[in-house]
Symmetry: C2
Subunit: 198 residues, 2 copies
């Protein structure tokens, strides 16, 4: 893909958790990835080669391709979990690529996230309990709303964990023949974990 296209894809995939990535971040990052040898870049072919030689000034698209090393590194990145894996953005990114990992990794990350959210929840309960009369009504309402969000997310995570343990996909139990065009996102594991079901 070229940069602009990549940005649109990522925006669609991660739209639920963060805004579009900025250009000031996108292009320097692509250059960094290339310097590290994880992607290669190539100028797009102008037309049918020989044609239109006058348009040399046309700053054409640059097509990026992932290398074998890049694929390997990417697989490592989504499988390994650091402390930042469990905050909002980090978890969202990992989750969006769950289809490319194994069940053990998915469970590990879901449980780490649950632990993190439970901690946040306890912190909010503390504030609502201990510092209640020190804070104004609006601030308290904000904490209450945040607490509610934490409780809902914990329930959501527990559902996902239960599903994961029973070896099912997150929700839809494979409707029909599933597979759209090869564009779908699950090359390593066929569907989200299917080790014993026929």
């Amino acid at each position: 893909m070229h940069g602009y296209e990549l940005r649109k894809e990522l925006t669609a995939k991660l739209g639920a958790i963060r805004a579009a990535i900025s250009y000031g971040s996108l292009y320097p990052t692509l250059r960094r990835l290339q310097a590290a040898g994880w992607i290669t870049e190539a100028a797009e072919t102008p037309a049918t080669a020989e044609e239109v030689p006058a348009l040399t000034s046309r700053r054409g698209r640059v097509v990026y391709t992932i290398t074998a090393e890049g694929k390997e590194r990417f697989a490592q990145l989504i499988a390994q979990a650091g402390p930042e894996t469990y905050d909002d953005t980090g978890f969202g990114v990992h989750f969006a690529f769950f289809a490319r990992t194994d069940q053990a990794t998915r469970l590990r990350i879901l449980e780490g996230r649950r632990r993190k959210i439970e901690e946040r929840r306890e912190g909010l309960r503390d504030v609502l309990g201990r510092a209640a009369e020190r804070l104004d009504a609006y601030t308290l309402e904000l904490q209450r709303h945040g607490l509610d969000a934490c409780e809902r997310e914990v329930r959501w995570l527990e559902e996902l964990i239960a599903n994961e343990r029973s070896g099912r996909a997150p929700t839809a139990p494979q409707p029909g023949a599933a597979g759209g065009r090869g564009d779908n996102d699950s090359p390593p594991t066929p569907g989200p974990s299917r080790t014993e079901r026929p």
Copy 2:
């Protein structure tokens, strides 16, 4: 307050919407605020003045005080709304200081936020509708969860807007005599908007 204390206060007040502010942001910001004339800094008095002159090396606390100009600027900041006022962090910060604004400002910001979240919600519905078979089950589940959060927030905002229009505080209808110690957060307006109720 001094820096560390300020950080703790802000963490308690804004804990529901963002993590603690970093030191690498806190201290430079305090210096910027002082350069702009919005706060003044003063080294804390060591003890009873004359005492303990040997401890000159003790890098003591620095106490910051807001200036009249700073108070004015702060009032402007929380009353004026730009485009960034309606994203997650910006809205959260404004909301946390709602008790220091007037009802008109609160309504304006709540409605702007609602519009923004409704846009995000429509975007997610689009993705779930149009790009459903291009995305894997986990990504879809992420969008569904985000969509659910949007819907809940819209309902929350509408409750708040209705409350605001009827002139009530967000939830608790002034329990007892209210006012704790002067530490509470509502100097300009006595309680959250009270223009006609006796």
